[in-house]
């Protein structure tokens, strides 16, 4: 599970956002369109490979797999939609009537359409959302995604009072209020730009849950058989480690009912087995987190145009240099290491062209992504690299170590190491750790005199913003800032961008922040994996977006 797409990264993608139910998703007629029926040729059953989802409670859903399931079952406030140019954007769902801010992003009013119900008959009102979110944020409930209401993302007023795990001061966030049956208001500590706010409200954490699910034991029961308001529903509890079966929800009120009658999610612990099943016609869709590396060499030949490979998944690998040791103290040395690595070569030969070399931390599929921030420092040049290394005084012991995890696919890291060795004339080895936790522990314990090792990490973004590509990793004290990076200028630029209402100004601020980051060069992005997947002859109109969300409701089962 620690392995992600094509072995690039150490960290699994915990992407948290919705797929493009697209086309009609932005219509917001009150009550939705109850009469719409499946297009001609609907019906049938298809199967899709996933890994075991950790949990099917929205506020505890922290991986791609559970969200692909939940997203078919529950409609929330925003949904991600793929634009014509391939980029992804959050748009209001059928359930949402209007979202507006009265004071430049500090107070938000969310209006929903009346008459929506859960499949258990419970009415969905403003109170449903307020209660669900309070449940998620309340510390003693121990929900994984409670933090999105906290300072690192939405920063709702009163979050600190409820978030303590042992003895919170309050049960509900004071910034969250029911105005009337269909309207709620949310007050934030810091203003947020509209697009960022929408992005934060498009993940599983905001999906509504019926009142029965809003206790710890209730949520555990809910996870066994979620109850929703979406185009599909679960008729019987799912079987952990085997399968999840969704059937069409006849009471669905929205405008995008599903095509197929039934969706079978099949749990695979080894994606090579899924690849064998796909080739044998026993499985219809594979690639929520990419095709297995073993399949890449032959995928095109085996599947023909049923193999899709497009640039810009919302993930990247990155290398980070320890700052607390003297090993990589000199910036020239750090740049020398990057310049000694020919990533294009690795992409072509090892990854069969299924990745793009990164010149920034944001892939081309997000607004403002794909900009060349790093410039010459990230361009392979062996001679220059060697010169920079000498200029920077070399590395102690003429040795470089790259952290790796046992059992993970370390082929790319090995290739990188070989190139460093060859191009810089220093010894390079992989420093093996049993798991992610052990690696971080060792990293945190590094002292000034110790020999530092380079961290090779990966990041799967929660939402398609530059903010999410850099802020959680490099903001001072940010939750995933493992390298302990801290730069005031960077923090200020990110914060300024967050509050910016004008989308372009917001992007510019974040790009400036990225420039500061590359100026310090304590970390660099390596490659962005492509989105690649394959499907059987049994289905058509299969699309997996750069976040790894499948357009399950739109998929057509051939011949039915």
């Amino acid at each position: 599970m620690l392995r992600t797409r094509r072995g690039l990264a150490l960290v699994g993608a915990a992407a948290v956002a919705a797929l493009g139910l697209s086309a009609c998703a932005s219509s917001s007629t009150p009550g939705g369109d109850t009469t719409s029926s499946a297009p001609a040729g609907g019906g049938g059953t298809f199967s899709i490979a996933i890994e075991e989802p950790q949990n099917l409670t929205p506020s505890n859903c922290y991986d791609l797999y559970c969200f692909n399931v939940l997203n078919q079952m529950i409609i929330g406030i925003y949904d991600f939609e793929t634009q014509d140019d391939g980029s992804i954007k959050p748009v209001p769902t059928d359930l949402t009537k209007a979202v507006s801010t009265s004071d430049n992003g500090k107070t938000w009013t969310i209006e929903i359409n009346p008459d929506w119900t859960f499949t258990n008959g419970e009415k969905i009102t403003a109170k449903t959302f307020v209660d669900t979110w309070n449940f998620a944020a309340y510390g003693p409930n121990g929900q994984q995604l409670g933090f999105v209401f906290g300072p690192s993302q939405l920063d709702v007023v009163g979050y600190d009072d409820v978030s303590d795990a042992k003895s919170p001061k309050a049960k509900t966030m004071s910034g969250l209020k029911v105005v009337n049956d269909t309207t709620l208001s949310m007050e934030l500590n810091k203003p947020l730009g509209e697009s960022l706010f929408a992005n934060f409200l498009a993940g599983p954490q905001i999906l509504p849950m019926p009142s029965t699910a809003l206790t710890v034991s209730g949520s555990e029961d809910f996870s066994k058989q979620p109850i929703g308001n979406g185009p599909y529903k679960m008729d019987t509890p799912w079987t952990p480690n085997q399968s999840i079966t969704l059937v069409k929800n006849p009471d669905y009120k929205g405008s995008t009912p599903g095509n197929a009658d039934q969706i079978d999610f099949r749990v695979y612990n080894d994606d090579n087995a899924a690849w064998a099943d796909l080739q044998a016609g026993n499985l219809d869709i594979l690639g929520v987190s990419g095709l297995p590396q073993q399949a890449l060499a032959t995928a095109e030949q085996v599947l023909g145009d049923r193999y899709v490979n497009t640039a810009g998944a919302l993930q990247f690998g990155y290398y980070a240099f320890p700052q607390q040791t003297d090993t990589f103290k000199n910036k020239d040395v750090r740049i020398a290491i990057r310049k000694a690595i020919n990533y294009q070569d690795i992409v072509d030969k090892l990854l069969y062209g299924t990745a793009t070399v990164a010149q920034s931390f944001a892939p081309s599929t997000i607004p403002g992504g794909g900009t060349d921030i790093c410039g010459d420092s990230c361009v392979f040049d062996a001679a220059k690299a060697k010169q920079l290394l000498e200029q920077g005084g070399g590395v102690p012991g003429n040795k470089v170590q790259i952290a790796s995890i046992q059992g993970a696919d370390n082929s790319v890291r090995k290739a990188v190491c070989n190139q460093i060795q060859q191009n810089l004339g220093v010894a390079c080895t992989l420093k093996m750790f049993p798991d992610f936790g052990a690696m971080l522990d060792a990293y945190a314990k590094l002292g000034a005199g110790d020999t530092g090792f380079i961290l090779a990490l990966g990041w799967g973004a929660d939402n398609p913003t530059i903010n999410n590509m850099i802020a959680p990793l490099f903001g001072t004290g940010a939750p995933s800032n493992y390298i302990g990076y801290s730069n005031k200028q960077f923090d200020e630029l990110v914060a300024r961008g967050n509050a910016e209402q004008d989308p372009q100004a917001q992007i510019n601020d974040w790009l400036e922040a990225e420039k500061v980051l590359y100026g310090d060069f304590v970390a660099f992005a390596t490659t962005f994996p492509n989105t690649n997947y394959g499907y059987s002859e049994h289905v058509s109109n299969v699309k997996i977006n750069p976040q790894g969300f499948v357009n399950l409701a739109e998929i057509q089962v051939n011949g039915s």
Partner: protein, 308 residues
Amino acid sequence: MGRYFVRRLLQMIPVFFGTTFLIYALMFALPGNPIDTLSRGKPRNPAYLQYIIDQFNLNDPFIVQYFKYIGGIFTGNFGKTFNNVSVIDIFMQRIPVTLQLAATAFVIELVLGIALGIWTALRKGGPFDHLSLLATLLLIATPIFVLGYVVQWLFGVKLGWLPPAGIQAGWPTSYILPGFVLASASFAFVLRLTRQSLLEVFGSDYVRAARAKGLPAWTILRKYSLRNSLIPIVTFLGADFAALMGGAVITEGIFNIPGIGQQLYQSIRLHESVVVVGLVTVLIVAYLIMNLLVDLLYGVLDPRIRYE
């Protein structure tokens, strides 16, 4: 006999405590910590971490954790995974799957191994004997994952005779390929063992005497030779059945069989001590029971063996 049986059963109690303690200690000693591994390097909600720590007593010293776990077992609470699935549910789901797989493999190695072993012993030095020596050597030498992927590709993908992965098609269809792969190495052992053991018995005086008396070859085999040559084979098969249950990690992985091996692998990676301890304990009990059965079978096969 009865006393012997009871004594053997009672012996399992200290073994149970010893193994749970050892496995728990080993899990505790694993480097890294479950919290970091569980959250996969994503931002972690402190409230969630606290919840997990409280639920699983992660802040307690080792010995306290262990006794809380044992205490739980005696009140019928075997614990749960970090994803809130109870260990009992995991047992109920996975043990039948693993049993079906192990049984399939066991039948394959038992029937094919003994039958071909007898044949090669009867036709000693013939072309089939030589061929089987070559084939079994090859099987024993091939790593199981190589064989697994080859068989999966050939029979599952290329020829499409059997499903390449999963258990959707049910027993036996889904279990034949993985069962064969799982059985392969042991099958070769059983074949060689049967052949060797039979040849030894064939050379003994009483078989020669029976042959001299003009008894038919089939009767000699059935009444005089086979039963006596079975003891080493039964010993091997008994230990092997238990090993088949726990040792199918690779095969279960390749063929996506949701059995015990797969769960063990996952749980060890996630540091889910209670799951690992629970499953390993079940495996050890299975091993002990198989051993006991083997010992009892000795008495049936060879009446000279008596138990007090």
